[in-house]
């Protein structure tokens, strides 16, 4: 078990190097001069330009620039922006906001998705099942832009003006965990649909298993047959999906963060690509990759907890 974790962490190193190099190369290949971008439409003083290019190693080959970058990373230094701000300062608080948002989305997704999936599986072929399946189709079809603004308007504004219930803040992070309710719901949207369908399929398959029949033959109450014997076995694919989804939710929050005015890394990433702040872009991606690797490792370790047939040596 311990050796397995160490091995997985060592495997993470080439993954991290590969992904950061790819993103570094992509940013390098972007058209436009980042120094010119600092000045907008005005002309840039040639001496200033030469100094800046020298300082940020912009005239070195790609691989050398990447070498400087990796060197920095291993000493905990994410580098400076062209505007002279340390990248770590820009990150301050922003990863926390996005992580909160992604975790809120994950919780909503798990509760709603698994819940709906269970109902659908137990009412297979009945009206509730059909309605839930239709609802998941609707969820995947509505773009975040639409669902975001509609929820903001209905739950955030109209609910308050018509009933006086002021529970769903529409922007910012000043209301603690409640601030993340609406954006979390919007971000979770499509994932809820996938998880619902996955839960439904997984549970339906488990319910056909011989050991469920055994549990019934043992005279176990229905609640116990479902909640203990079937559910535990259905959870395995769901945990995989949820784990992989954490990374996807964190990197996919750009639009949601913009609609709900959350100061997270999604927006920062977008802005930085726009301003050619290469060091910020690569830094964000590096951290996201780390989170992705960590989430997958946790999922793999959870397998062994859920299914005793899996052993790590």
């Amino acid at each position: 078990m311990g050796r397995y974790v160490v091995r997985r962490l060592l495997q993470a190193i080439p993954v991290l190097l590969g992904t950061t190099f790819l993103i570094f190369a992509l940013v390098y290949a972007l058209p436009g001069d980042p120094i010119q971008a600092l000045a907008g439409d005005r002309a840039v003083d040639p001496i200033f330009r030469a100094t800046m290019r020298e300082m940020f190693h912009l005239d070195d080959p790609l691989i050398v620039q990447y070498g400087y970058y990796v060197q920095g990373i291993f000493t905990g230094d994410f580098g400076m922006t062209f505007r002279g701000v340390p990248v770590s300062t820009i990150f301050e608080g922003k990863f926390q906001v996005t992580l909160n948002l992604a975790l809120m989305a994950l919780v909503i997704e798990a509760i709603v998705g698994v819940g709906l999936g269970l109902i659908a599986a137990l009412r297979r072929g009945k009206a509730a099942d059909t309605a839930i399946l239709a609802f998941t189709l609707l969820l995947v079809s509505v773009p975040t832009l639409v669902s975001g603004f509609v929820l903001q308007l209905v739950l955030g504004v109209q609910l308050k003006t018509s009933t006086g219930i002021d529970f769903f803040p529409v922007a910012g992070t000043s209301e603690g965990w409640r601030s993340y309710l609406l954006p979390g719901l919007v971000l979770a949207g499509t994932s809820i649909a996938y998880l619902t369908r996955l839960t439904r399929t997984s549970l339906m398959e488990t319910l056909r298993a011989d050991y469920v029949r055994t549990a019934i033959a043992k005279g176990m109450p229905r609640r116990r047959v479902l909640g203990r014997h079937a559910l535990r076995n259905s959870l395995i694919p769901l945990v995989t999906y949820l784990g992989a989804d954490l990374g996807a939710l964190m990197s996919g929050a750009v639009i949601t963060e913009t609609i709900f005015n959350l100061n997270g890394i999604g927006r920062q990433l977008f802005d930085s690509v726009y301003l050619s702040e290469n060091s910020v872009v690569v830094g964000i991606v590096t951290v996201l990759v780390l989170i992705f690797i960590a989430a997958n490792l946790i999922v793999d370790l959870l397998y062994a907890v859920l299914d005793p047939r899996i052993r790590y040596e």
């Binding site: 011989d210 055994t214 019934i216 033959a217 005279g219």
Partner: protein, 348 residues
């Protein structure tokens, strides 16, 4: 025809009880399944009875309805698609089909228990065997975790699992096939049921282990005087342990008889064919006998006697008339128009 020898002195005397209700009486049971292709009539008027301490072997090939009948007794059919349009299943005089689901789950596991064919898939892979046995005591008897595990270890000892105390926290996949079936058996006898249904308990096991498991079942039955229904397609398995045999074909019982009668002289062409298809040492080198043709398609049953397309003694009325279950003696019956001729060996 030379019959396989049977040690008749080992068989208990026929324990038919006249006037009293048997432990289990299945009466004119019908089970059908609604499928996309139409209604499958899996069980068409099956009747059999069993007394305490008795072993009934239900014999038949796949699709004969033997397992479906057992699942109907157990109440573990998926309904829908399954449906029981007709019939009674009386257990100690009570018709199980008239009980509520709640009442039935009280009987399941406590009074009627079941063992399944493939213990690996029938045991839950994510719980320890101890947990799965102890669950019987915790849920049905409200026992504490500690006491129920003590009971589980006792039961594992009783079905002769070596080092039960050390293995109680192992998972099903860590046991061999024979040991897994012993776990299944331990679980099923946990609450001293009056009736045990074993659905092909030895099919997934190799031959030496098969004999051990059958021996264990017979021993447990002797100790507790429970009724045992043994569902199988293996004639070799039943000879030593069964008191009586019900042979099923196409959802019906075609022959009912005490075990020694059936081995000595079958009264139905299908039974005769089954007996002749047992490989025998004294026939070594000769071609193996097989019943010609295929089992009936349950969606499109043959007219008349379901066995007629494969029957070597077929007559014209076999194609048109469904044979009734003729009483041959107090304990025997056969669903063949020509049972006399089959018995005499003059048929065909």
């Amino acid at each position: 025809m030379k019959n396989p020898s049977v040690d008749t002195h080992l068989l208990p005397a026929d324990s038919g009880t006249i006037g009293t209700e048997p432990l289990l009486a299945v009466d004119n049971l019908h089970v059908e399944f609604t499928t996309r292709q139409g209604v499958v009539r899996a069980v068409n008027g099956v009747s059999y009875a069993l007394n305490a301490g008795e072993t009934l072997a239900v014999l038949g090939e796949s699709g004969s309805g033997k397992s479906v009948t057992a699942q109907a007794i157990m109440g573990i059919l998926d309904m829908p698609p399954a449906r029981v349009p007709k019939g009674e299943i009386r257990f100690r005089g009570t018709d199980l089909l008239k009980l509520s689901e709640n009442q039935r789950s009280q009987i399941r596991g406590q009074q009627i228990a079941m063992i399944f064919q493939d213990a690996l898939s029938a045991l839950n892979p994510v719980f320890t065997v101890g947990w799965q046995i102890a669950e019987m005591f915790r849920v049905h008897k409200g026992m504490s975790k500690k006491d129920s595990y003590t009971k589980a270890i006792e039961l594992m000892d009783r079905v002769r699992i070596p080092a039960a105390r050390q293995r109680v926290n192992d998972y099903p996949h860590q046991f061999s096939g024979g040991m897994r079936q012993r776990i299944m058996i331990a679980m099923s006898i946990a609450l001293d049921p009056d009736l045990l249904i074993a659905d092909e308990p030895t099919t997934a096991l190799d031959v030496t282990v098969q004999a051990q498991i059958m021996e264990l079942l017979a021993e447990l039955q002797r100790d507790s005087n429970m009724g045992l229904i043994l569902i199988t397609h293996d004639l070799g398995v039943v000879a030593d342990v069964a008191d009586k045999i019900a042979v099923m074909y196409g959802g019906r019982i075609v022959e009912n008889a005490p075990v020694h009668d059936i081995y000595r002289n079958p009264a139905h062409p299908y039974t005769k064919g089954l007996l002749e298809s047992i490989p025998r040492v004294d026939m070594k080198g000769q071609e193996l006998y097989a019943i010609k043709g295929l089992p009936p398609n349950l969606l499109d049953m043959p007219t008349g006697c379901a066995f007629h397309p494969r029957c070597p003694f077929r007559q014209d009325n076999c194609v048109t008339d469904v044979p009734a279950l003729h009483a041959i003696s107090g304990t025997r019956s056969s669903a063949c128009h020509y049972w006399r001729e089959v018995l005499d060996g003059t048929a065909g």
